[in-house]
Amino acid sequence: MAPSKGFKLKLAGMPDTSVIRLSRPATVGVSALDIPHIRPKLLVKEKEAVKTGTPLFHDKRDPDIRYVSPGTGTVKQIRFGPRRRLIEVVIALDGMDDFVAFDPVSPADLNTLSDPDLIDRLKQGGMWQTLRQLPARDTADSSTPPPMIIVCLNGNDLFSPHPGRVLQNRIKQFEFGLAILQRFSDRIIVAARKSAMDRLEPVKHRITHQVADIYPAWDPGAILYHIKTKAEENQAWYIHVEGLIRMAQFLETGRYPVETMVTVTKGHDKKPHMITRPGAPVRLLAGNYPSDSVITTGQLNGRKVDPDTHLGFFETTLNILPNAPDDEMFGFLKPGLNKPTVSKTFLSCLVNKEVQLDGTLHGEERACINCGYCETICPVDLMPSFIMKALHGDDIEEALQLGLLDCCRCGLCSFTCPSKIELTQILSLGMDTHHKDKQG
């Protein structure tokens, strides 16, 4: 398996592999913004006291899928966005954790639990949703067994936490997690970036696929695209290693796990990995940064975060992107030694050094000129411009035939488009609409 297409620029900002522990935050939050397709229904009110593990909201489509409080305290605020869309539930933390407790299940006891009991336990504990299902990336459907489960050791971003650090002192939980997954499927794929193998010696025998170090080769959608052999495998489940470990910790202790690892990247800074609570405040993680920066949870496939909110359930990294200097005079005529590009139109393509990109478009939106840059970079061999045109013509059938659902939303087509067309957004909307229609 050697996907060769993808993002080949060398970006600055790889975090240092040292680990620090952040101070205890005053608040934690559960964000609804990084949970795909959810229709949340709140289960708590402001000023209500909650324990660690108390359900805060569930998914109306399946009320058994709960999102629980990652800390003990009182509900400080429930934030809504436009049209009363839930943004997040904020908890003001008390000094000590008081857990909603379940019976602990040791690895040896795992087989005493029946499948329905196991699924029910994970759902009650707010852990089931760490398992997600391709191609829509919705919460895994527990009623049908998956064709395979992909365990992604690397996160969504180029600079997500190093799996060697996430797994440090957690090998037992990792093994337990794999045992849990084996209850749901015989085929477990464990994939890691080649560059991460340096610190993965203890789990090397578990890794089934080493993928190229080209973003987004380690994304579950990209992995599946390159290993699938038949159409039924499209419904594969996947889980990130952080989720797997937390799932195992939850079963083993009967308590909601309150530690997670995040990375923060900012320019050429090499910040250490940070241990903090799930749903930690963005300000605490980000530290100092220029006021006009853009903060994202993945520079290519994340979301933009407000510094006054909290990190989401699935998110493990923050990228702080500087804003661009003022509009540049005759910018399009410069030789461009300091203008990173995947094309060959600036001199920067001759220099092989770490580059820094700012959070701006570098141009204005224009009509598609069929140049083919999107196809050249797409990691799953799509022709995004053709799919975009099919979607604009409301021809979802043609878009699906062209492989729309293989799209892994890596963002590279939008990244590379010289006409600055929001291809990723257009394709994502098409996929989401299709998923919604299918659910009825």
Binding site: L300, G331, G363
Partner: protein, 386 residues
Amino acid sequence: MNPIKKIFDLLEHDFSESGNFAKLAPLFDATKTFFFLPSPKTGIGPFIRDHLDLKRYMSVVLLSLMPVLFFGMYNTGFQSGLARGESLDFWSAFLSGAWVVMPIIIVSYAVGFFWEILFAAIRRHPISEGFLVTGMLFPLTLPPTIPLWQVALGISFGVVIGKEIFGGTGRNILNPALTARAFVFFSYPVTMSGNVWVAGANAVDGITGATALAVTADGGTSLTAALADQGFSLPHLFFGLVPGSIGETSALCCLIGAAILMITRIANYRIILGGMAGLILTALLTWLLPGTSGTWVDAGPIYHLCAGGFLFGISFMATDPVSAPGTNPGRWIFGFLIGFLTVILRVANPAFAEGVMLAILFMNVFAPLLDHLVMKHRISKRIPNV
């Protein structure tokens, strides 16, 4: 603060929604973004974006046209001097050529931009950079003797009928610059074909003769001998010191432009190489036909490559991404068939001495079909995910 920026900031209000010149907002916007590269914040992911934009993209195409443009200016002056029997030094040849060529380019840009601004103002969209290339390509395909009103008419047809009625940049089926040339070619055949085009030849009466592609040999002499006899020896054709359209005469300059386009990956090398392969193979086949000596059937691949506008067309016209296929196998076939059709038109149709223009326009029409077939094939190879 930059003084030019100050001027734009002062004028901004007049061109805004409520200003006096709201209709001309696209013109203001195009001028402003020409001076100051805009870089708005990314609202949605991905949050980082490549530095390549359409301004840069089209600037690279213009850069690749510089060798043929400057050589075309020099050659226009040189040929005119030759016709008058004067021998001009480099700079006077260049300047007298520029004196002829610049008005054609200025008229092409001015009239073309008028239409672009008109359509942009009515449709309320920004002016696309694509016209920078069209406005330069069209004059380079014209003989230097062309009357300026024909230039104006041609570019109007190219922009309006060739592009804007389809919806503007990115939606046209045919290459607008070639559409413009085809219009002039069929409407005003006298100025566009037959006689040698030598600018500034008013001092000389009655120059007759033909462009290289119209030459045939009679009475047993070979075509190459007949060509050399009339000043079209192979080195002349390769370096371009022959009469012809402004931009097309020099094979060398076209190859330099093609190299720039291929190295920067702005043009797809598949189209250019496929076209050359198609031309060379077809020319080889016709060369092997017996009993054809003295005509272009017998010219062989090298002469077919260097004479006429093939290299100009395949490098700059066929590689227009909008009117070419968007799939790689489609691009190979597209290029190959342009080469094939160019030779077939040259040797089989006495009405058109030059075939490349019609070959490209014809294949432009078929580009969507090629894409369709390639995509059908690709879909059949994919594991369905529906």
